[in-house]
């Protein structure tokens, strides 16, 4: 049951975690056995019921969607589970909608008060981030051991307010560092039961990724410039094509390299993650997904999502001599859905 049939993915460029590392370490691949067709059925029913109930069903839809991806994802033969109660999610959503309504009403009637409320919302942001991560962790489980998120308001405020502000003040020079602090905040406060994750990435790894990310538009700009200079007649199509390809490549480059780094730098009690996604295959998936989405007016969405997710899971492994049977559950209070829904509403992509 431990995935002996699938070959262990090569993971050449993963930085070795300090101390461990023997080539004979057992490798546990993550696997995903869901199909686009199966997700289409769930997605279309979710969408229809959400439309017919004016959005109320969307809380249940979210649970079904997450259950589909979690239950089809396995490690060492055991599937992940998503256990959140849709009613809690619905309550969180209602509170979020109500507060936004109040906020905009206050702003219309008495703009100075609107400013104060806006400032209060900014100061509340770290709290929402923490609550959201805690909610998501609390209701995610593997082998009935729930995850935990133990971040504090102070640490979240540093990662999501202080460092981004300093990045702005330094004209973006500190932006990769701020991003690094956010990733570190995510991983270091994450735990499976009582066992915490550790993060070994360094800030310079992120500077390298952002450097590469900026290189693509630069190269494309030069290429487009050369075309405009040499063959002005082909200028418009060349610039449009270069723009689209650059966007696609930069997007894939960032997802792949930041995703690989996130996992390769994370350990769980002596077990190391290994992610070995490659930029061009992933860019190919994103590109064909985009074409199919346009051609089907969006109906391809569930297939696209499954394809991209499968690629990520197929290139993820857990390695190390430690057993997977000894994780211990923690006693935790129930988390509220409010933070999670606000993040949903404000559209944070919280990674993990």
């Amino acid at each position: 049951m431990t995935g002996g049939s699938s070959p262990a993915p090569q993971c050449a460029d993963s930085p070795e975690a300090p101390g461990t590392a023997a080539p004979a370490d057992p490798v546990q691949p993550f696997t995903f056995d869901g199909t686009g067709g199966a997700y289409f059925r769930i997605w279309i029913v979710n969408t229809l019921l959400s439309l017919l109930t004016l959005g109320i069903y969307s809380a249940w839809a979210k649970v079904r969607r997450k259950q589909f991806f979690y239950r089809h994802t396995r490690l060492a033969g055991s599937a992940f589970a998503y256990l959140a109660d849709p009613v809690k999610i619905l309550k969180g959503r209602l509170i979020v909608f109500a507060s936004f309504f109040i906020y905009s009403a206050v702003q219309k009637v008495f703009p100075p008060a609107g400013l104060a409320v806006g400032l209060a919302l900014v100061l509340l942001l770290p709290w929402f981030v923490v609550r959201s991560l805690a909610f998501n962790a609390r209701y995610s489980a593997w082998r009935q051991i729930r995850f935990q998120f133990r971040g504090t308001y102070r640490a979240a405020a540093a990662a999501y307010l202080l460092w981004p502000l300093l990045a702005l003040a330094t004209l973006g020079l500190l932006f990769p560092y701020a991003y690094y602090r956010q990733r570190r905040f995510l991983v270091e406060n994450w735990a499976l039961g009582t066992t915490g994750f550790a993060f070994h990435a360094r800030a310079r790894d992120y500077y390298r990724i952002f450097g590469g990310f900026l290189l693509a538009p630069l190269a494309a700009g030069l290429a487009a410039g050369a075309v405009v200079w040499l063959a002005p007649a082909a200028a418009l199509p060349a610039v449009v094509l270069a723009g689209a390809l650059t966007y696609l490549y930069a997007l894939a480059y960032f997802s792949v390299s930041a995703g690989n780094l996130l996992f390769n730098a994370s350990t769980l009690d002596g077990l190391r993650f290994g992610a070995a996604m490659k930029v061009w295959p992933y860019a190919g998936i994103v590109f064909t997904n985009t074409l199919a989405l346009v051609a089907t007016l969006g109906l391809f969405h569930p297939f696209a999502r499954v394809r991209a997710y499968r690629y990520r899971i197929d290139h993820l492994v857990l390695r190390g001599a430690g057993g997977l049977d000894a994780f211990v559950a923690a006693e935790t209070a129930e988390a509220s859905a409010l933070g999670d829904e606000l993040s949903d509403f404000l559209d944070f992509d919280l990674g993990l």
């Binding site: 029913v45 589909f68 055991s78 082998r143 009935q144 109906l299 969405h301």
Partner: protein, 347 residues
């Protein structure tokens, strides 16, 4: 007796134990280790919390202690539940998701509802919202839009002051006849916009110098002014702003994420839909202008004359530049179509 294979987790550690669950005729469950046969748990089936079925993904029976029996034998779990007589809400969702016929009907309904929302729902909602927005919002929108236009596209007017005064005097009746709209006329050099007129949400109307120069008769400008007043009466600019936000929001909600790939594809349908909305607005403004002109006893042909000249000029330019992109994705209905509509409805 129902027997199913699965795994046992005690809820305290991540150790997995292969196990067998049996239910006897009295609804009593017994879970045993698969290897030694040692009994792990005995409980009435009603004490188990059974997870909802989703395809054939693993299903769990959770007991009071936090211990869990997990199995992939979904049909057997359903039979077990049926035996207890407990009906579950998620059963019909599962039926919807698995029967091909239901999935097909759902898909057709989603497409139809989606199309109806885009065609009628969003414009109607935008109209309602635009009507309840306070005047301050309109003023702010005007100020900001004008500042943006001045920075990006427009330049100060180069028309002689006496021309501007003459045109202003000639167009005053439109503003006077609609005092509630707060129409304000401004002149700017259009540059890349060429001969054009713009109506901002709060009643600010901008004429480009090129438009004034191209007009052969001041009544042509009066017709244009009436057309722009039509946009203001129907709150077109504000409705467009609200529609755009609603449309993007609806598409985001539908696809459930705003990842890069989605953004890339959302752009096209949003653009095409906006163009369709915008052509509808032009027709509405034309009708408003015709009504007004006939009341002022100005020939409706004045608007058509000017449009024809703009169209002619644009075609000359296009031929000169050798690029036909702008005409294809137009915000206005095709000009010949509009001209014909105007001419046929004239007195």
């Amino acid at each position: 007796m129902i027997v199913l294979d699965g795994d046992w987790y005690d809820g305290r550690t991540s150790a997995r134990i292969a196990a067998v669950l049996e239910m006897d005729g009295g609804g009593r469950l017994r879970i045993r280790r698969a290897d030694t046969g040692e009994t792990l748990l005995e409980a009435p089936v009603l004490e188990a919390r059974v997870s909802d079925r989703l395809e054939n993904t693993p299903r769990t029976l959770t007991f009071g202690t936090g211990a869990v029996f997990e199995t992939e034998a979904n049909d057997a779990v359903d039979r077990l539940l049926a035996r207890t007589g407990r009906r579950r809400r998620a059963r019909w969702v599962h039926t919807l998701e698995t029967k091909g016929r239901h999935v097909l009907v759902s898909a057709v309904m989603v497409v139809l509802i989606g199309a109806a929302l885009v065609r009628y729902g969003i414009p109607a909602a935008a109209q309602l919202l635009a009507a309840v927005l306070p005047g301050a919002v309109y003023e702010t929108a005007d100020r900001q839009t004008l500042a943006l236009l001045d920075r990006a596209l427009l330049a100060p007017s180069a028309l002689p002051p006496e021309v501007r005064d003459r045109v202003r005097r000639h167009l005053r009746p439109v503003a006077d006849d609609h005092p509630d709209l707060g129409l304000t006329l401004l002149f700017r050099r259009g540059g890349r916009l060429g001969p054009n007129a713009l109506a901002l949400p709060g009643g600010t109307i901008v004429f480009t110098d090129e438009m004034v120069t191209l007009a052969a008769h001041d009544d042509e400008l009066l017709a244009v002014m009436a057309h722009e007043a039509g946009h203001v009466v129907h709150r077109h600019a504000m409705r467009r702003m609200v529609q755009d936000s609603l449309l993007s929001f609806a598409l985001m909600a539908l696809t459930g994420d705003a990842s890069g790939a989605a953004e890339l594809f959302l752009g096209l349908p949003v653009l095409l839909t906006e163009l369709a909305y915008s052509r509808e607005f032009e027709r509405q403004a034309d009708r408003f202008a015709l009504d007004y002109l006939s009341r002022r006893q100005v020939p409706a042909a004045r608007l058509a004359d000017l449009l024809e000249r703009i169209d002619q000029r644009r075609r000359d330019q296009v031929r000169g530049q050798g690029g036909g992109w702008s005409g294809y994705l137009s915000t206005h209905p095709s000009t010949p179509e509009r001209i014909q509509a105007l001419r046929s409805s004239g007195p």
